[in-house]
């Protein structure tokens, strides 16, 4: 599991991903850790199959007992099916996750960790040197869905938004936005169900000052690529299957 530090200040952001030992039939994921003066916060900790690689990767940058908070942007298995294992490893921790999914997420095993349901409008979490914001991203793609914004590091952890399906070993950052678009297109068209939710989210996120947009799959966006992504996403029609697209094609040609 590779670890890259994406922000270093009074607190730190790390991304874990590109696990060379990952089973080939499971999707590659990015996990994030915010470390702030002896308090660590693990974001979208990953699937059960990722845990054995994540544990030593996380331990390489903080003491595991330091993990006080976990976050699940939504209920998908690639996001949080490791919950039952983290429940054993950090029984003292709290899990921040959409209120909507509490009864569902607990199927992964949550006997010790305290579940803190994030209300639909979002909330904040105080770390020693930064107040993090849980930003609503409902229906993108999950019906109860949040992202995490750090106004000091200017990082937006954007869950499945900005995700790309890539071969193993892809670089950590987008370096050519135009070349990256085809890797994201199918994912966003198919997994994102609602244009209305999409536009709502774009309006909300455009008000934030973002240096790095950090999705849960594929490469991260930085600098102007964040704005490029928002413009591209705004123009993209989502909630479209291949069948829809095929049915629309002759009409468009006519």
């Amino acid at each position: 599991m590779l670890r890259t530090e994406i922000f270093s200040g009074r607190h730190h952001w790390h991304v874990f991903g590109r696990d060379p030992d990952k089973l080939s039939h499971i999707i590659d994921t990015n996990q994030y850790l915010v470390r702030d003066q002896g308090v660590s916060f693990l974001l979208d900790p990953g699937g059960i199959e990722t845990f054995s690689a994540m544990l030593p990767a996380v331990a390489s940058c903080c003491d595991i007992s330091e993990i006080k908070y976990l976050f699940a942007s939504h209920q998908d298995p690639d996001i949080i099916s490791s919950l039952g294992l983290w429940d054993k490893a950090v029984p003292h921790a709290k899990l921040y996750a959409p209120w909507l999914w509490e009864g569902f997420l607990k199927h992964f095993g949550c006997h010790n960790i305290e579940y803190v349901g994030i209300p639909d409008e979002g909330m904040t979490l105080d770390l020693p040197s930064v107040k993090l914001h849980f930003v609503p991203a409902h229906y993108l793609h999950s019906s109860g869905n949040f992202h995490v914004y750090d106004p000091v590091a200017r990082v937006l952890m954007s869950g499945d938004i900005g995700a790309a399906l890539e071969p193993a070993g892809a670089p950590m950052f987008v370096d050519d936005f135009g070349a990256h678009v085809p890797r994201m297109e199918l994912f966003h068209r198919r997994w994102m169900p609602s244009n209305r939710a999409k536009n709502d989210w774009i309006a909300r996120v455009r008000q934030l000052d973002i240096d790095i947009m950090a999705p849960q799959h594929g490469r991260l966006f930085r600098g102007d690529d964040v704005k490029r992504f928002l413009d591209w996403f705004e123009a993209l029609e989502v909630g479209v299957t291949a069948q829809h697209a095929a049915a629309q094609a002759p009409a468009a040609a006519a």
Binding site: F51, S52, A53, L55, A59, S65, G84, A89
Partner: protein, 202 residues
Amino acid sequence: MTYSSQREQQDFFARTATVVGHLEGVRQIANGISLAAANAKAVAARAGNQAAGFVPITNFIDEMGGETRHLVGRVNRDAQRMVREVLAEKRLGDSLERMRRGIERLDARSPYLDEIARQLTAEHAAARESTTRHLTNLCELLQTISDHARAARMMSTRSRVEATIAGDYQESLESVADTVDHAAQHIRDVVMKCQSLLREIN
């Protein structure tokens, strides 16, 4: 009990499910025994003095039918609880395995994680012990059912002797004795099958 492979695990679930299925059949047979006993009581009442010796026998068989039904209910509940326990044990074993694999890959030893692994190991061992204990209890309960069925067969033999002095009612009382005998034999066969299924797990 060892559950080293997934196949063994699946095998266990298949066996337990088969046992639960068989026991459902035993419950129905036990219902049949109670019915036969009720029938015998009615015949004995009509026969009056001719079948006086028959009454305590039918009472005994009736009680035994009820007791068997009760035991089968208990065994079923226990078997279902055991399936849940085995699932929990499997989940713990899986967590422990994944935790150990992660710990093996640490750059430096973590006393914190060593302690977590130690606790998990103890929890897993306790779960395993409890499953084994429940399996033993289950086997004992099955043995009790089998003993009841054996006693019923002995009673049906006595019934036949009593039937010979029941005059006009001999035939119907013999038929009741046959019903009980067959049912009891059937229960013993099924219980033996269940016992051998469980023995192979143990």
